[in-house]
Amino acid sequence: MARDRQQSEDFISPVRRLLVGVLVLFMLATFLIWRIDNPRVERFRMMVIDAVVPNFDWAMAPVTGIANLLSDFQSYQRLARQNSDLRRELQDMKSWREAAIQLDQENARLRDLINVQLDPQLTRITGVVMADSGSPFRQSVLLNVGARDGILDGWPAMDGIGLVGRISGVGEETSRVILVTDTSSQIPVTIQPSGQRAILSGDNTINPLLQFIEDPDLVKPGDRIVTSGDGGVFPADLLVGQLARGTDGRQRARLSADLERLEFLRVLRSQPNARIEEAGTLLAPRFQPQLPEEPEAETPEDGADG
């Protein structure tokens, strides 16, 4: 009975070693397949996430809530100072508000004059942030809306104020938003009021870089950055943030969205813009344009809006 265990280990070890070798090869094969056929494996990854993460949700929501509560409590001491700042800001804002109301009325009158129809297809779906990327090298969040709710890859996601990111990866019940701070995020933007085009590219810092500004002399810190809609992926004129010069001397964007507190995100249903590629279709369209007089029973469905 008192056999040496070393012996039995020696006995089983070749088989075991073989199995471990097969396991390692399997892992490496997964990696290679991912490298070669990325979209397919990424879809599989989304399936895995879709299957696993919603199961964590019952635990994740209270833990997140408690952690946020604690950090709220920590910030309690800052509230008094913040309050006085806000009062002062409010005074300032009142005058802005007057100006805004006047502009709004003027705007409405002008719109009425030129008979503009706002794009009815720019509706939104609200999702709750379930999880983050879990890695300091990746900046993304997972939303609890997915293909079930009609989410498509490439749609922009915003918090209440500014652009947060873009949908990249859709599962049945979940979808991933690549934040604008992620290194793989490149978004065409316009800098107002000068109208300069640039690319907002994340570099894993809180303030993404603005690259390829046409004429950097025309922009100044404090300018508004909005999406430009170039490339047909994003709708134009979503607020991104404010231009600022980084301490390293490069132009960066101060994001309007509060990335520290992402809880609800609005995913905008963006329709691909009509792309003008040939001159001929401009002059004489190949297909007869659909006239609005035609009785169309179907209206764009807005039921899933939260």
């Binding site: 942030v129 300091p136 894993n204 809180i206 980084g246």
Partner: protein
Amino acid sequence: MADNNLTRRRLIGRITFALLCLLIIFTHLIPLEMVPPSFGGSSLNPIEQRGATQAAGVEIEEFFDPIRWIAPQFLVLLAATWVTRRPSFAPVWIIATVFLLADFLLQRPPGLWAALVIILTEILRARSRFMRTLPFWLEWATVAAGIVTISVIYRVTLSIVLVPQGSLGLALIQLTLTLLAYPLVVFVSYALFGVSRPAPGETDELGHRI
């Protein structure tokens, strides 16, 4: 009866290990880390803005980056600790499953890190019998060398196949934190879960040498 006891303890150890791994993945996924890592300070020059009214004058708005620490890679530390100290609690198939799942959930290239961790843990497992007589700092050094090696292989492989990676500085900070956290993981494993190195010549209930 004694045999039952032994298998039950091993089963409990394995379940604990798997649950701990899932817990670590879970804590990584809690949506609290949505800003990129930074040590605070300010990376933007202040913006001078005119107030709304003429009287308000120029306001200077200063920006501060939110502080966000990088967590050490507790998952690989846990696997290394348990495999070194109680190999029977951390069988290779649990490690393989957990790390493949982690690769998928944490947005890493799937499979590569899992394969490297399996190789590392198998090497440590083969040496665990000899490592139990080593002083602690040597054990620490062995595990640290292993983790550094697989991290280097991981980075080199990713750059060979041209996968975009995070910055080197960030990776070095994370690696350093991971290596420094080893004693902590060992202590917690020992104090809370009783994962200790068997003393030389220690026997189980059947009189086998462990």
